[in-house]
């Protein structure tokens, strides 16, 4: 009997010891984010998400490295070459994601994605995050290009907020005549210019043709009148002086300074821009869909689920990494929307929040009835094709090539 008691006691001691050790076992995950700049609308929401994660998962320690978006894209691609991507990291969807998936860097998440988790996500957002039937990324936001109009300037110069292309041209002319630069764009960073060309081309060529071209589907072409007309329409804006004289040498940040100062009436940019608007500006700005051209594609949007979190395939803690990845996606979706930084990609009841960013609410409302959403050309295309669309759009902005030459240049991606 004594022996039995001793055995039970020692077993109990061992169990409690292992339990104590198990409790103390902390897993460390490396994480990369792209919101290093204080001005990034998603920075505060992500910091809050990290705090929430630490409270909810004390046994998972996070080592977060902060980058600026472009710098992380390059760093991430370099790290992928040596199989040293962090456990959980931010990445774009579409072609750039496919590059890493093709190289075997990303963990498929299907094994961990339960029906219960899937039910909490907005439907239809995994299109550009799924390859060969496997999900490789979880979105934290839904993107959309919008046109931001500063109503104060529209009222001051008695200009109607444009709903059609002709009204847009009329607005540009009126503002110019009054010495106001009608629009802004950070040409030096290239991609902000794509925001304009993509949406204008979408209005002229439509979702199906643009999607086919950006995803290099068999038989797709840029050599159509619709594409030429689309780029020519952008050229028309440049020729009318819609953009600052030095737009091609401005970075996105520099280009937005004048908008924030209330000097620019119109700006086409992603939904995240609404999160950068000050509370006063939020009262003055309305976000509308890009003016109609009348070719039947006027309720189509550029955007979709273009950004999310991935798990590296070589992570030592795949389960914990998935937990972090899913937590970041879902909670940043909520925190981002509350902070006005992005549209939510996960279902959440926001009725308790009364002070939501009104501009973001407009975007949420407008995009909820969208006919379709298409990823931006420079996100859907990859590698040298993505560089080419950036380079060529920049050349159109600086006047070095014509719309026809742009189409010819872009056609080379099918060779």
């Amino acid at each position: 009997m004594k022996k039995l008691v001793a055995l039970v006691l020692s077993l109990a001691m061992m169990l409690s010891l292992t339990a104590a050790f198990a409790e103390e076992e902390v897993v460390t995950l490396t994480v990369s984010s792209i919101w290093s700049a204080e001005t990034e609308a998603n920075r505060a929401p992500f910091l809050k998400t990290l705090e929430e994660f630490e409270a909810a998962h004390p046994n998972i320690k996070l080592e977060v490295e902060w980058f600026e978006a472009n710098a992380w894209k390059e760093t991430g691609e370099t790290l992928a070459l040596s199989d040293s991507l962090p456990d959980v990291f931010y990445w774009n969807a579409g072609g750039v994601l496919w590059n890493l998936v093709g190289a075997g860097d990303i963990l498929p998440l299907d094994e961990y994605l339960t029906d219960e988790i899937m039910a909490r996500m907005e439907p239809g957002l995994l299109v550009d995050m799924t390859f060969d039937g496997k999900v490789y990324q979880l979105p934290y936001t839904k993107a959309a290009s919008m046109m931001y109009c500063n109503t104060e300037l529209f009222d001051k110069y008695n200009v109607k907020i444009p709903e059609t292309w002709d009204e847009l041209i009329a607005a540009v002319k009126t503002f110019r005549e009054n010495g106001v630069t009608p629009m802004t764009v950070g040409g030096a960073d290239q991609w902000p210019t794509n925001m304009y060309t993509d949406i204008i081309a979408l209005r002229y060529a439509g979702d199906a043709a643009c999607r086919a071209a950006y995803y290099k589907t068999e038989g797709a072409t840029f050599m159509t009148q619709d594409w030429i007309d689309g780029v020519a329409a952008f050229k028309q804006l440049i020729d009318l002086g819609a953009f600052p004289e030095d737009a091609a040498s401005l970075t996105r940040d520099e280009s937005e300074v004048a908008y924030f100062a209330g000097e620019i009436p119109m700006y086409v940019h992603g939904q995240w821009f609404s999160g950068s608007l000050s509370p006063e500006m939020q009262q003055k700005v309305v976000a509308i869909k890009f003016p109609a051209v009348g070719k039947g594609y006027d309720n189509q949007y550029m955007g979709g689920a273009a950004e999310g979190f991935c798990v590296a395939s070589y992570t030592e803690h795949p389960e914990e990494a998935f937990i972090a990845c899913q937590f970041f996606a879902e909670n940043l979706s909520k925190n981002g929307y509350i902070a006005g930084a992005g549209l939510p990609a996960w279902k959440y009841d926001f009725s308790a929040y009364t002070d939501l960013n009104p501009v973001m609410a407009m975007i949420k409302e407008a995009t909820s009835t969208a006919d379709s959403m298409l990823l931006w050309g420079n996100t859907a295309l990859t590698g040298e094709d993505a560089t080419l669309i950036g380079d060529t759009v920049y050349d159109v902005l600086t006047g070095e090539i014509t719309p026809e030459q742009w189409c010819e240049d872009m056609e080379t991606i099918f060779e």
Partner: protein, 303 residues
């Protein structure tokens, strides 16, 4: 110690670690890059799918095409090299001569000219970015001049000069200091003798000082040429990434944005060959001159 150093085996033992290290981090990568440059493009990390295409990547580099920027990039780097050799170096030499001949505040000027060399290229680039984007347009406005279309850094006629200027300016002090050091080490009796013989400042510079610092001029010339072909940091930051205007920039974009690893390796090899070729050329040029001078000297001596 002398006995140890006169033994060739012991020299070999001392030098071996450095040689091995140098081979591993410099020589091996060059050969590896050359090997990659002969392969077809491969998806990242999937090594066994590539095949030998021999010099196809090199041919592609110089095949004319509206979107092939590389030949233009080489021409740009050559024009930058020309600017360095014909403007930057003479300017540095002029300052070095003025300072070495002794003026009031010599060390102050010397340090001031050297400051840009100490400052990081990133800081220099950001500084000049503000000069081009804010200061120069403001000055133009006061003078009632029109700023070039799209601004100095995006206008195709001005952007190269705008990019070259900060680099040229930055390294004037560097070459100046090298030349100044060489000038200062000319024995003072030679200078005194020339002065006694009635040589003026310009005669002294042309006949005594410049010929005597020729080895240093050669060093400056090599640094300047090689630096021109490798120029990367200042243009990269000034032009905000949107460019393939110089060989090193093109190589970087092809490698890290376009993922054309083999093609980028071919461009890297071209830069290596270009630097080597010009170094050899420089050596031949200077050697010929040296030989001519010494032959002339011998003939005069024999006569």
């Amino acid at each position: 110690m002398k006995r140890v150093l006169s033994n060739k085996w012991s020299i070999a033992v001392f030098v071996l670690p450095t040689v091995l290290f140098f081979t591993y981090i410099v020589i091996v990568p060059i050969f590896k890059s050359f090997y990659y440059s002969l392969l077809s493009e491969i998806p990242a990390k999937v090594g066994d799918q590539s095949e030998f295409v021999w010099f196809a990547n090199y041919i592609k580099m110089f095949t004319p095409g509206r979107r092939n920027d590389f030949p233009g990039a080489v021409v740009n780097s050559l024009s930058y090299a020309a600017l360095s050799v014909f403007i930057q170096l003479p300017f540095s030499l002029m300052i070095a001569l003025i300072l070495a001949n002794g003026i009031k505040g010599e060390s102050l000027y010397r340090n001031v000219f050297f400051i840009p060399v100490v400052i990081s290229s990133v800081v220099i680039s950001l500084l000049w970015q503000r000069i081009y984007k804010d200061l120069v347009p403001a000055v133009y406005e006061v003078l009632n001049l029109t700023v070039p279309k799209n601004g100095f850094l995006a206008n195709k006629d001005t952007k190269l000069m705008a990019v070259f200027l900060p680099s040229l300016w930055q390294f004037v002090g560097y070459h100046m200091l090298l030349m100044y050091g060489a000038l200062k080490s000319i024995p003072s009796d030679i200078i005194e003798a020339a002065t006694v013989d009635g040589a003026g400042a310009s005669r002294m510079a042309l006949r005594i000082q410049i010929p005597m610092i020729k080895p240093m001029l050669k060093v400056c010339l090599s640094f300047s040429l090689i630096g021109s072909f490798k120029l990367f940091d200042t243009p990269w930051i000034l032009l905000e990434r949107a460019n393939k205007q110089l060989p090193a920039l093109s190589m970087y974009v092809e490698m890290f944005s376009n993922h054309k690893y083999s093609y980028a390796s071919a461009q890297a090899m071209f830069i290596v060959f270009e630097c080597l070729a010009f170094t050899v050329l420089l050596n031949i040029l200077f050697k010929d001159r040296d030989d001519m001078v010494s032959r002339k000297g011998r003939r005069r001596h024999a006569a």
